[in-house]
Symmetry: C2
Subunit: 149 residues, 2 copies
């Protein structure tokens, strides 16, 4: 998907890499999250449940930081999965500003029932790349995302 933009070779390469990164990520994420609708989960809801499942109780602030989302977004997403009984919330007794967000038994059961399938989809998605290519892609992403060595 080379851009139509006429620029210096440096600009053309940066734009080309940029758009390919964007497209590949979009399509990869789309393919690997399509099955979530079978469990009536949105990608955001799944991300929250998965974080709580693997990391344990977190505050909404910590969740927002882990997931790169705003606190307002957390309020909204948590409201839905709380209503469905997949998570529970209570005030932190030591500091009443904080909420302690926990995954419930029901939420844990749901993740238990589908996480293997989820991982299998990701392994399948990544299997077009060799182990060495995956390592190199991870390295380049780390360098790009952190903007540091």
């Amino acid at each position: 998907m080379p851009t139509k933009y006429k620029g210096t070779p440096e600009e053309v390469q940066a734009l080309d890499t940029y758009i390919k990164l964007q497209r590949a990520t979009e399509t990869s994420m789309s393919r690997t999250t399509a099955h979530l609708s079978n469990f009536d989960l949105t990608t955001s809801q799944f991300a929250v449940l998965e974080a709580l499942y693997h990391l344990g109780t977190l505050s909404q602030r910590d969740l927002a930081e882990k997931l790169l989302k705003s606190t307002g977004n957390m309020s909204s997403v948590l409201k839905h999965i709380e209503k469905r009984g997949l998570i529970s919330r209570e005030r932190n007794e030591n500091d009443n500003r904080y909420m302690r967000v926990c995954i419930t038994g029901s939420g844990r059961t749901l993740i238990d029932s589908m996480f293997k399938e989820h991982v299998a989809g990701i392994v399948e998605e990544m299997s077009v790349l060799t182990s060495e290519e995956q390592a190199e892609l991870a390295r380049l992403c780390r360098k790009l995302g952190l903007r540091e060595t």
Copy 2:
């Protein structure tokens, strides 16, 4: 950001690569589109304008395919930038099902005024990678996105 998941080495590497790809893309896209708010443009609105600017008149269906979005989404995004006078729409005379979406003079002027800055931001973002690294990242993304050699 290695996952907590205990799996086979293949699973661990796939998950690690997957999450790094997702995070790097999110942060890169976030950094390179932050300036759009200076022009009262959302990323979706900018994507539409940029496509029309560089590709010329397109139908809403074609726009949706280029941008990997639904036709319902196109209806919504186009409504906003049409109201603002940045694009115009008319029915295709040969086939009345189609809309012909054009960027207006006003829309063109807006993109003219900020596209160089946009490109500069992307070049700056990508500049943490050498030219060879960018080429390799593009290659890996192409392979991953298309799921073909």
